[in-house]
């Protein structure tokens, strides 16, 4: 049997509730938009239900410790269809077994969730490392990103704690939303212009100066005799180079 849901966390948790209410046996959880109708399988469309979702979520909070809740949330933020299915089965497995079963790394769903969570955490860490702010004329620090996974909710706290005395915007260009810190709180924002890469925003004159200094520093801290391009690319995969000030070619 196939369960269809809309991709929201609420929908996913509702699906778990519905499964326990009906116990239909083997099912696959599929995103509604990816579904290809099938002549032989029955389908059930899951409609979000806050109450049911909350009950499942509270059940999870009782059974899992903080780290596992975060892993589950990270796996959800990966937005990979297969990950949703694993989360669904993991949750069912958890509610059907005795306590502590989330540590059973021999179970395919447990190991899958920890792998998805690891990828998302890695992407989150890379964003914390590779985001490069540019100072706009009005003193706001801006950066546009397009991460593989939806990591903005995960990096929010890090940037809020760290850059408490400057206004900043981090914008997810793919998912078309961003975070704006106004020295008090962080808000979600939506920018409605086509060119959101930094070039369209008037920059502070000091910006170029520090970018040049940083590039100089990057060059002079390198040791020629130890050149190791393979290792370099392993640590900074090429898809991240577009963020990095030090990797931009000087246009003269």
């Amino acid at each position: 049997m196939i369960y269809l849901f809309n991709g929201s966390l609420e929908g996913l948790l509702t699906a778990v509730f519905e499964w326990f209410e009906r116990k239909p046996g083997e099912i696959t959880l599929i995103l509604e938009e990816n579904h290809q109708p099938d002549a032989f399988k029955k389908t059930l469309t899951i409609y979000n239900n806050r109450e049911k979702a909350d009950r499942v979520w509270n059940g999870l909070l009782i059974r899992l410790d903080k780290n596992w809740i975060r892993r589950l949330y990270c796996a959800y933020l990966s937005e990979i269809p297969a990950a949703f299915n694993h989360i669904f089965h993991f949750t069912c497995y958890l509610f059907q077994s005795k306590a502590g079963v989330e540590k059973n790394y021999g179970n395919p769903h447990v190991i899958a969730i920890s792998k998805y969570a690891k990828s998302v955490e890695r992407e989150k860490h890379r964003m914390e490392a590779f985001i490069r702010f540019e100072e706009a004329k009005d003193g706001t620090f801006y950066c546009g990103i397009d991460p593989d996974f939806n990591v903005l909710p995960l990096i929010l706290k890090h940037f809020k704690d760290r850059y408490a005395d400057q206004q900043w915007i981090i914008y997810d260009l793919n998912r078309n939303y961003g975070l704006y810190y106004n020295l008090e709180i962080v808000e979600n924002i939506y920018i409605n212009v086509s060119n959101k890469r930094n070039s369209s925003i008037p920059m502070d004159p000091k910006e170029k100066l520090y970018a040049t200094l940083w590039k100089d520093y990057f060059k002079s801290t390198n040791i020629e005799a130890r050149k190791n391009t393979k290792l370099h690319i392993q640590h900074v995969p090429k898809r991240y180079w577009r963020y990095l000030t030090e990797k931009q070619v000087e246009l003269i």
């Binding site: 079963v101 540590k103 059973n104 790394y105 021999g106 179970n107 395919p108 190991i111 860490h125 914390e128 490392a129 590779f130 985001i131 490069r132 702010f133 540019e134 100072e135 620090f141 950066c143 890090h158 704690d161 760290r162 850059y163 408490a164 005395d165 400057q166 000091k206 100066l209 520090y210 040049t212 200094l213 940083w214 100089d216 520093y217 990057f218 060059k219 002079s220 801290t221 390198n222 040791i223 020629e224 005799a225 130890r226 050149k227 190791n228 391009t229 393979k230 290792l231 370099h232 392993q234 640590h235 900074v236 990095l244 000030t245 030090e246």
Partner: protein, 418 residues
């Protein structure tokens, strides 16, 4: 003005780059005065140089003027290079503006010794004080302790820095005396010991009085240059082990010597830095600190050098085949960690997962075990039965045949005879 700063930054970053320490971990300094920056427990590497080393801190010297003439150092007195010095304000502005743009995780400030130790230390202290107090900067600061500086200055610096370090430079006293006759290990040991005692004292006070200020929260580290003088791996690692134990160091760094002069006491210009040896030493360091190995098991009088073709964990296993095969479904965690091909996180997962049922090969592979390597040393429930026992050299040949060393393409210092 701007060009002058560019020039200084180039000179002083270039002079500082031979210090390999770049970690920004271990500090949990909070940004609770609504200033700029905080510590990140695991540290963040913001970029990597083309040689593959991480750049996490703005690593610069305050000046490369130096009264010492150590043969292994680019900034030695007799070397004919451009000299420069930053003002306190320049360092502060650079750090703040780089940090605001998320270029760096903090500042690594070192210096050549000008005039005397106290004068230099006092300058370093002025930079960190200005950052912390005037600019409300809470990011990471790694500060060099200047050997010979007064205890008052060192103690005060410790209140502002996250990590402090002094380099041993050469693994043995004899090596150091050969290249830097004016220096001695005692100069390093004294301040390391002093800071360590202060850290312990502040920690004890913290238990009684909650608002005791932080004192060097990320601990101390040191660095040894490898390959400039003819020490064995055993001597190097025994020194490291002693320093880890005696001064509770967080890290010992091993820096392959990069030839910078025509001095006849050291490898000649153009010699490849000993990258593979450096790698093996770090592997040993990890085995010692995280895998519960005693350094005497890995390096001893019979084996004063680490194998170059295989890693130290594998070579320990091959020398001690009587411990193997280990049944991963019953063996204690400490033994599982010693199996080549199984790391700490796989070992953790195995120990947790086997409570729910005995593990099979396919599950081990999913967990992340390097099975092709581990299979010679383990037993699980579907391990195929095997009549003959392989000898160590046979297992080694099997493993080498199916793995390609990443170092094979780069020239090693060791020439092949046949």
């Amino acid at each position: 003005m701007f060009d002058r700063i560019r020039e200084k930054l180039t000179i002083l970053a270039d002079a500082a780059k031979y210090d390999v320490s770049c970690s920004s971990s271990g500090s949990n300094r909070k940004n609770d005065n609504k200033g700029l920056g905080n510590g990140h427990t695991s540290g963040i590497c913001h970029t990597y140089t083309e040689d593959g080393r991480c750049v996490s801190l703005l690593k610069i010297l305050l000046t490369n003027h130096c009264i010492f003439d150590c043969a292994y150092c680019v900034s030695r007195k007799s070397n004919d290079i451009e000299r420069a010095a930053f003002t306190v304000d320049e360092v502060v502005q650079l750090t703040m503006n780089f940090y605001r743009r998320n270029y760096i995780e903090g500042l690594f400030l070192s210096s050549g010794i000008f005039k005397n130790a106290d004068f230099t230390m006092e300058r370093l202290l002025r930079v960190v004080k200005k950052l912390r107090i005037e600019e409300k900067y809470n990011g990471y600061i790694h500060l060099k302790t200047i050997p010979g500086a007064s205890e008052e200055l060192i103690r005060e610096a410790g209140l502002y820095a996250d990590r402090m370090s002094i380099n041993l430079e050469m693994p043995t006293e004899a090596g150091l005396k050969l290249l830097a006759p004016e220096k001695s290990h005692i100069d390093v040991i004294k301040p390391l010991d002093f800071v360590n005692k202060q850290i312990i004292q502040y920690k004890d006070e913290k238990k009684l009085i909650k608002h005791t200020p932080k004192f060097v929260p990320a601990g101390q580290s040191t660095q040894m240059v490898i390959g400039a003088t003819p020490e064995t791996d055993k001597e190097i690692m025994y020194t490291a082990d002693a320093f880890y134990k005696n001064f509770s160091l967080r890290r010992v760094y091993y820096s392959g010597y990069i030839p910078i002069s025509n001095d006849t006491r050291m490898p000649i210009l153009g010699t490849q830095p000993p990258l593979l040896r450096e790698n093996r030493l770090y592997q040993t360091d990890w085995l010692m600190r995280f895998y519960g190995f005693n350094i005497r098991e890995i390096l001893n009088d019979e084996n004063p050098h680490l194998d170059t073709d295989i890693d130290p964990k594998l070579s320990w296993a091959l020398r001690n085949l009587h411990h193997f095969p280990i049944d991963i479904n019953v063996a204690p965690y400490q033994m599982i960690m010693r199996i080549p091909g199984i790391g700490i996180s796989s070992a953790n997962k195995i120990v947790q997962a086997r409570k729910f049922g005995r593990l099979r090969i396919d599950q081990l592979k999913k967990i992340g075990v390097a099975y092709n390597r581990a299979k010679h040393f383990i037993k699980c429930i579907d391990t195929p039965f095997q009549l003959n026992d392989y000898q160590a050299h046979q297992i080694k040949a099997f493993i080498l045949a199916e793995s390609a060393s990443k170092y094979l393409k780069t020239a090693t210092n060791q020439l092949l005879l046949f």
